[in-house]
């Protein structure tokens, strides 16, 4: 069990070392905001594998990425040699996490289409087959239903497969295996079997990929009992969540996003994991809580720039854990700001936002000054035309309007 003892209002000092991936002149935060006044007692985070991290401030300094849109690194790269850690892209971070876990535990294996010799369609498994061999990095035929089932069967005996869906949408073919076998076997066997699989893959709306390749499956999987869902958004949390997911005894679905694979960030050299049930405080604020995850985090941060210029102070939380929700962090934020805006890429109907709205209303209704607003994608198949596709997902301008409406 991961118990988190967290002070109210996580303090996240802005460190100038972040300027490596963007021009510091474009910093979102006005210099006069000194975070030191809001520094509470430091908190200890006990992770699910028992490691106590007594210096979370060190890592939270790396979390803030004010680059709102997923673009390649631009601007002058600060001298990287003097700073701790190393710089890499998000898919490299995933690969690093996977490689380190495979080294650490011989039971970890990867199965998926084109993960081995081809190196992975998004290069997440590049080089692994050469290093670990064909029995540990398995190229499967195009048979999602059966290789997901095989991964789950192998997990019943104690292996720890990482199953890749080339695109999350393809995992719909394996829905039966994920729902019935993956999620429920621990329960229906009375605790005899654990299923330590990680099911991962890129999803979300990309650049004109068409309706079937732009699916967001978190809404379909969210009511399966027995699984955990996490969504990564930065190289730091991608690597951390990948490692935590592999080490977890429960089945974890790790949602990556097609457009975020080339994000660059500096991450620590040492071994670290991110807690699977924890939300990430991206930008502390006072006026409104904006809850988001995955790619929408960047749209929110872009909107936040505009909002700050207009005088608002949004608190941005990347919920990361889609199942179960980190109601502790979210609740503390709601108690502070009293207004909630949810920005997600899921469909409106039955999406993560809908469940989150219900959860917050149930638990924190007394603290809300206004009804919760939820901005989600339109309930349409994603069109091919670029202009239409843009309108399908939530854009920063809509977020600004929503905050203005909420804060009236």
């Amino acid at each position: 069990m991961a118990a988190i003892f967290q002070g109210v209002g996580a303090a996240a000092p802005l460190s100038s070392s972040l300027s490596n991936s963007f021009d510091s002149n474009k910093s979102v935060f006005s210099p006069r905001r000194s975070f030191s006044v809001r520094k509470r007692a430091s908190f200890a985070v006990v992770r699910s594998d028992g490691i106590v991290n007594l210096n979370p401030n060190g890592r939270s300094a790396q979390r803030l990425v004010s680059n709102a849109v997923a673009t390649k690194a631009d601007g002058p790269a600060a001298s990287s040699s003097s700073k701790p850690g190393h710089e890499l892209l998000l898919f490299e971070a995933l690969q690093e996490g996977l490689e380190e876990e495979m080294e650490r535990d011989p039971r970890v294996c990867v199965m998926g289409e084109d993960v081995g010799h081809y190196g992975g369609s998004y290069k997440v498994t590049k080089g692994l087959a050469k290093r670990f061999g064909d029995l540990r990095v398995l190229d499967t035929p195009i048979a999602e239903n059966s290789f997901t089932g095989m991964g789950i069967g192998a997990a019943m005996t104690g292996l720890r497969p990482v199953i890749e869906g080339m695109n999350m949408g393809f995992l719909l073919l394996a829905f039966n295996q994920i729902s019935n076998n993956c999620g429920m076997l621990h329960y229906t066997s009375g605790g005899q079997f654990t299923i330590p699989v990680v099911i991962r893959g890129p999803g979300g709306v990309g650049r004109q990929l068409g309706a079937e390749h732009s699916q967001r499956l978190e809404s379909y999987f969210q009511s399966i009992p027995g699984i955990q869902m996490v969504a990564c958004s930065t190289p730091y949390n991608a690597k951390g969540l990948m490692k935590a997911a592999i080490r977890s005894e429960n089945p974890v679905i790790l949602f990556e996003h097609v457009l975020l694979y080339n994000l660059k960030e500096r991450i620590p050299d040492e071994d670290y994991i991110c807690n699977l049930e924890e939300a990430e405080m991206v930008r502390p604020g006072e006026h409104v809580t904006i809850l988001t995850y995955s790619r929408m985090r960047y749209h929110v941060m872009q909107a936040a720039k505009t909002l700050v210029n207009k005088g608002y102070d949004p608190e941005v939380i990347d919920i990361r854990s889609l199942k179960p929700f980190d109601l502790h962090t979210i609740g503390n934020s709601v108690k502070k700001t009293h207004r909630v805006l949810i920005v997600e890429e899921c469909m409106r109907t039955g999406g993560i936002g809908a469940s989150l709205t219900a959860a917050i209303t149930e638990n924190f209704n007394d603290y809300l000054d206004a009804p919760i607003m939820c901005l989600s994608s339109q309930d349409v198949p994603t069109p091919y035309a670029g202009t239409l596709e843009e309108v399908t997902v939530v854009q920063p301008a809509q977020i600004v309007t929503a905050v203005e409406q909420l804060c009236q």
């Binding site: 069990m1 991961a2 118990a3 988190i4 699910s48 294996c109 029995l135 398995l138 499967t140 035929p141 048979a143 239903n145 059966s146 290789f147 997901t148 089932g149 095989m150 991964g151 789950i152 069967g153 192998a154 997990a155 019943m156 005996t157 104690g158 292996l159 039966n176 295996q177 019935n180 076998n181 076997l185 621990h186 329960y187 229906t188 066997s189 009375g190 605790g191 005899q192 079997f193 654990t194 009992p225 027995g226 955990q228 005894e249 429960n250 049930e277 199942k323 179960p324 109601l327 502790h328 609740g331 638990n363 924190f364």
Partner: protein, 434 residues
């Protein structure tokens, strides 16, 4: 014999009843009724006038039965299976099987136990003590028993929802079965699985699955894990003739053949997929041939010795050459489940016909009697014993309590994350029970 008698003479003076004594067959003979041993009869008649209680007769009879080299006899007996094997892309194993008196009697006992257990489950269901779906295996016992005889506990078995007898064969107890069926705590899945979700991890029995065909990819995954960990063991993934038309089977077979996995796919062909006969569901009902590139073997599934022979052959084959399909030609007397009478899509004559001609227990009974390995009465005694065992287990299971309310939330996650422990304040249990 003389040693026993002298010891016996020194201690007791039993009141013997010569007729019952003579009913014990002391010597293996091919002409029933057995002829009594005149020497012994004379010796014992000298003590017939004693006034000791008749209960002392029991020690004598058990003492003498210990001397009978029947139940524990392991001298090999060679038999031929009644139906030859049909092979696809491989050499069929020989029809000659080696067995022993001990083994045959064990088979008889196990199958009688399974039969009785399923019949008892039928009555319990009608008495509404078992709810939901209950799929009974009577008629197919030979497959479970024969397979178990060919395997070790390191080999894995995974099957679908008709799993009560396979669970028993893997070492499950009657109490676990009945408690699980009635949803009690002592059940093998703590009452939370039900009839379709029996599992026994320590003897590598992986269940127990409700969705038709979904267990076959899982089974191939088990075989993959065995190959990965270099276990030198195999996995038997069982499915029915209805499930044989599922696409995921062929997907899993393809992957298993590509990766050379020690997977054996066993089709328990009882000729009906719920209400649909196999000729209406399958264009090609030769399920053992459906592997195409994978070899297959068709086996008489009502003959426990043939099943054992085929499974031994398959295990050897799979360890060397990768997956193989076995088709067990078997039959179920009950309907698909307890909600299906079983007679709307087949005639009662068909059912009674199979029962008369191919019943697995009757076969073994005839085999035992014809080779004089035990008497009618002994076999009847075994059946009575078995019946009593089942009744006792049911009584015990009925006494067992239902799971606690808090059990609703245990085992959803390992380490209890997300449902039981976290409230909004991380202080209280959020989930409240009605």
């Amino acid at each position: 014999m003389p040693t026993l008698l002298s010891a016996w003479f020194n201690s007791h003076q039993p009141n013997l009843h010569p007729p019952s004594f003579y009913s014990l067959s002391l010597f293996r003979s091919s002409h029933p009724p057995p002829s009594p041993n005149p020497t012994l009869a004379m010796a014992l008649s000298r003590f017939a006038s004693s006034s000791r209680s008749g209960s002392l007769l029991k020690p004598l009879s058990s003492a003498i039965s210990l001397r009978r080299p029947i139940s524990t006899d392991t001298t090999p007996i060679t038999l031929e299976t009644s139906v030859p094997f049909t092979a696809h892309q491989c050499e069929a194993p020989s029809r000659t099987v080696q067995t022993s008196a001990n083994e045959l009697l064990t088979f008889f006992r196990d199958m009688a136990l399974m039969r009785r257990m399923e019949i008892a489950a039928d009555s319990l269901y009608k008495a509404k003590l078992i709810r939901g779906f209950c799929h009974l295996y009577d008629g197919q016992e030979a497959v479970a028993v024969g397979m178990e005889a060919a395997l070790t506990k390191k080999d894995c078995i995974i099957t679908a929802y008709r799993d009560h007898c396979t669970f028993m064969a893997r070492g499950g107890t009657l109490l676990e079965v009945f408690a699980e069926l009635m949803g009690r705590q002592a059940g093998c899945s703590r009452g939370k699985g039900g009839s379709m979700h029996f599992y026994k991890k320590d003897s590598n029995f992986y269940g127990g699955h409700g969705i038709v065909g979904a267990q076959v990819p899982l089974g191939c995954g088990l075989a993959f894990a065995q190959k990965y960990s270099k276990d030198e063991a195999v996995t038997f993934a069982l499915y029915g003739d209805g499930a044989a038309n599922q696409g995921q089977l062929f997907e899993a077979l393809n992957i298993s053949a590509l990766w050379d996995l020690p997977a054996i796919l066993v089709c328990e062909n009882n000729h009906y997929g719920m209400g649909t006969a196999e000729w209406r569901a399958a264009k090609s009902p030769a399920y053992y041939k459906r592997g195409d590139y994978s070899p297959g073997l068709k086996v008489d599934g009502m003959d426990v010795l043939a099943v054992k022979q085929a499974c031994t052959f398959a295990k050897e084959h799979a360890l060397k050459n990768g997956p193989i399909i076995l088709e067990m030609d078997t039959y179920r007397y009950h309907g698909h489940s307890m909600s299906d009478p079983g007679s709307t899509y087949r005639t009662r004559d068909e059912i009674t016909g199979v029962r008369q001609e191919r019943d697995p227990i009757e076969r073994i009974r005839k085999l035992i009697l014809s080779h004089d390995l035990a008497t009618e009465k002994e076999l009847k005694d075994i059946e009575k014993e078995v019946r009593k065992e089942v009744d006792d287990a049911i009584a015990q299971a009925k006494e067992n309590p239902v799971p606690e309310s808090s059990e609703l939330f245990t085992n959803v996650y390992a380490k209890g994350l997300g449902v039981e422990s976290f409230g909004a304040d991380r202080k209280e249990v959020r989930a409240t029970l009605p």
